[in-house]
Symmetry: C2
Subunit: 158 residues, 2 copies
DNA sequence: AAATATGGTTACACTCAATAATGATTATTA
DNA sequence: TAATAATCATTATTGAGTGTAACCATATTT
């Protein structure tokens, strides 16, 4: 047994380590992601949006008229899963869903004035909480981090 | 007819962009994480482990005798959720679960020889696939990335 | 015109993770 | 010491989040 907890050394909290996992990029990535996701969730509490809904709303704001299936591609989720998100945003009158006149199978999604205002406010809150969560990094380091992450997202060099 | 790049129409579905979301660290973080998680999932396919189980097994290998509740803390999940993971690892005889003689409420988790061998093999596979996924980054950049991520994980500077 | 493909929707299943309740054991305290 | 509280592992239940399959309406292709 490698653990020797006698009365002299009662239960050190640090006697277990994840040093072996630190060699895995995905491990560090996930743990940092959890921190940022929680920060965003907290920031969005007031607006009643989830991170998922906020992202969808933001993409609709900056891409007026976008079709649901296109949006699903951008979010990397299935169309069927987007339906509920859109339903919620529409019920709250943050977006409108109108038929695309050129292709009546499609909907054209646009943010309402209310939706644009809420998105703007929520975005500011998320930005602020993200800044706090990443406050150990300078602005330059944060920019560097994002660029590194985007190069990973671009896939293998091959 | 849906894609007309010849500046005919101002708002075509094809030119949708997520540029507005790129200002959010959490957005880039999540997308990079998805890439790495998929890489790890693929690498672990052969071993029959999920990313979750692999992480648990790895931590048990490097912390022989660790208690389930301590492990749950390290994995940042509830004890109750760890039970199923441990059950699976024990059923496959990758770990053993023995009572801690000093505190009979606790279990002491240790990897079997078989578990250590599988972990070693799986770790190599994950490392290889992670390296491929991050191949657009040099070794120095990868190390830098990890250090930036860990500083985020450390929380706000305050 | 008929067959095929695409877009949105619904229903279902599965994974992941949190919560609450329970039984066993240990620690505290009256 | 006896009674009470706290801790550990477990089970059951629940709720997100996401994928798959089937369906209907509309477009496209043959």
């Amino acid at each position: 047994m490698t653990q020797n907890k006698t009365a002299d050394e009662p239960e050190l909290p640090g006697d277990a380590s994840d040093l072996g996992m630190r060699g895995f990029l995905g491990y560090s990535l996930k743990r940092a992601y959890i921190v940022l996701h929680q920060a965003a969730t907290g920031a969005l509490d007031e607006s009643g949006l989830k991170v998922r809904s906020f992202t969808a709303l933001s993409l609709i704001v900056s891409n007026p008229g976008v079709a649901p299936s296109r949006l699903a591609d951008m979010l990397r989720i299935e169309r069927s899963n987007l339906v509920l998100i859109i339903d919620e945003l529409e019920t709250r009158e943050l977006i409108s869903r109108t038929r695309d006149p050129h292709d009546r199978r499609r909907f054209a999604l646009s943010a309402t004035l209310r939706g644009r205002r809420l998105q703007e406010k929520a975005a500011a809150a998320v930005k602020a909480d993200e800044a706090r969560a990443a406050s150990r990094l300078s602005a330059e380091e944060q920019a560097l981090l994002v660029s590194l992450l985007e190069r990973i997202e671009d896939g293998p060099a091959d």
